[in-house]
Amino acid sequence: MTVSLADLPMGHEFEATRLKLSPEWVREYAAAVEDGVTMPDVPPLALTTLSFRALLDQMALPEGTIHVGQELSFSGWGEQPRTLVAAARIASRGERQGWVLMGLEMTIDDESGTPMMSGRATITFPTTGRSREPRA
């Protein structure tokens, strides 16, 4: 059973995950966001999306979760195919008026440990939020 993000405390560190940046997935991502820029081999936000995807393998979002803010810095260049290492932690967590406000810090490095992306997502969800089991 996947743990709900709602049940995790501030300071929780998600297990670092090795990710394959496959050409097939990059094509799927680029089609989904209709990215017409052909200059980068990998749209930089694909790295962020991939790190979120890795997080979702370790926890489930409470129903009704809303993304309220995002900070990102890119320092690498994604060429295909490539193996990446994603890490994340719950950097902040507070409750107000029935809503949880949570900050998630994320990093992606290449296999040699060179940083490629770092960021912080701010999300909110109801304190009563339940998580659905991930789809098969």
């Binding site: 989904a32 966001v33 820029v37 009704g64 993304h67 309220v68 900070e71 990102l72 320092s75 994604g78």
Partner: protein, 138 residues
């Protein structure tokens, strides 16, 4: 297809970046849900979403933010992927049927970087995302 064609060293304060416009559909939101693995029912389940304060499904914030990334990529090419950074707030919900326009404008130069105001608006002029993005231009 939008591609970066301008020498990024020529950007000056006040210059606009190439805007991009997309029409959101539920099919596109579903496609992004599959690519991202984020099947939050707020995005893909109309029955659940109807019970929320939004009254219907909304697009993933990261889907709409990708349009701003496309603007920065169109304006600054490889430099965006190599040295870009951004800080944005998601201020409004993008819904199926919305026409979303992402745009940007250079507002200052600092530390050899161009700092741009960036935003997404829907067809009614409502701000969906706003913030700043910067990229090294030297």
């Amino acid at each position: 297809v939008t591609q970066q064609t301008r020498d990024i060293r020529t950007y000056r304060v006040g210059d606009a970046l190439p805007a991009v416009t997309k029409v959101l559909t539920q099919e596109k939101i579903d496609r992004y849900a599959d690519a991202s693995g984020d099947h939050n029912p707020l995005h893909i389940d109309p029955a659940f979403a109807a019970t929320t304060q939004f009254g219907g499904t909304i697009a993933h914030g990261m889907l709409v933010l990708a349009y701003i990334s496309e603007v920065m990529g169109a304006g600054f090419g490889r430099s965006w992927a190599e040295s870009g950074s951004l800080k944005v707030r998601f201020r409004g919900a993008a819904r199926p049927g919305d026409t979303v326009t992402a745009s940007g404008r250079v507002v200052r130069m600092e530390d050899e970087s161009a700092v741009c105001e960036v935003e997404c608006r829907n067809g009614r002029g409502e701000v969906l995302i706003s913030g700043e993005a910067s990229v090294r231009v030297s």
